[in-house]
């Protein structure tokens, strides 16, 4: 006797897929100014000045920075907000 019914298995699969964390990744570009990028991180994520500057410098020096990790739906919402501030942003599966 199987431990779970097919329905339960399907639900568990769906749950596993939506549970996979996603990274919100901001990419470097030659136009957006450093102060502006830090302001955007503070506005969108509510980060402190120090954290916003650290992430901004990571974008600047390493070409990209993972600025947030979590569920897909929320990651998409953050990417949309960062796009509206004209930051080059994408998302990827974490790990």
């Amino acid at each position: 006797m199987p431990k779970t019914t097919p329905d339960t298995q399907k639900k568990q699969q769906t749950l596993k897929q939506s549970d996979v964390p996603w990274n919100v990744v901001v990419l470097n570009d030659p136009v957006n100014l450093q102060d502006y990028v830090a302001i955007v991180f503070k506005r969108v994520f509510g980060y402190s000045q120090a954290k916003a500057e650290t992430l901004m410098m990571e974008v600047h020096t390493q070409g990209r920075s993972v600025v947030w990790t979590g569920v897909r739906e929320k990651a998409e919402l953050y990417v949309q907000q960062l796009h509206s501030w004209q930051l080059q942003t994408t998302m990827e599966k974490a790990g």
Partner: protein
């Protein structure tokens, strides 16, 4: 052209020639720019996200609001007897966004970052020289918006 901070915490732009006004109006010269920008940002997402269908229209509308607002403000100011453009703190982000669209567009068309490092501006072709100086001018405006308004609001 002069750009000065105002007592209310904004900026005042005082164009001193027709060229200055033309330079300002070029901020909003391309009606398709908001569309290009929204679509180029969508290119960073995978197809499964359906970004083009669900997000691009909203992004485009937001970018278009920025350029239309700035365009209307400049045209209205140009008709005044003592023309000057006032940017109160509440409107700084609209201006910043519209100017950013132009700079992204100049970067995409001319790679102005390369021009910055090229050295002798006098040796450049006139189109490149124009792109170089426009980018420098818009960069200055953005720096002032950040320094005098947006950083203070944080």
């Amino acid at each position: 052209m002069k750009i000065l901070p105002t007592l209310e915490g904004g900026l005042c732009i005082i164009p001193e020639s027709e060229i200055d006004w033309d330079e300002l109006q070029l901020i909003c010269s391309d009606d398709d720019r908001p569309t290009y920008l929204a679509e180029s940002l969508a290119d960073l997402m995978d197809e499964d996200s359906e970004w083009g269908e669900y997000v691009v229209p909203d992004l485009e509308e937001g970018f278009r609001n920025q350029t239309q607002f700035v365009d209307a403000t400049i045209k209205r100011a140009r008709q005044n007897k003592e023309p000057a453009i006032f940017i109160p703190p509440a409107e700084a982000e609209l201006w910043y966004g519209a100017i950013n669209q132009v700079r992204l567009s100049l970067q995409a068309s001319y790679d102005v970052e390369e021009l910055d490092e090229a050295g002798d501006v006098d040796e450049m072709e006139s189109e490149l020289k124009s792109a170089y100086f426009r980018n420098r001018f818009y960069l200055l405006m953005q720096s002032m918006l950040l320094e005098f308004i947006m950083n203070k609001a944080e």
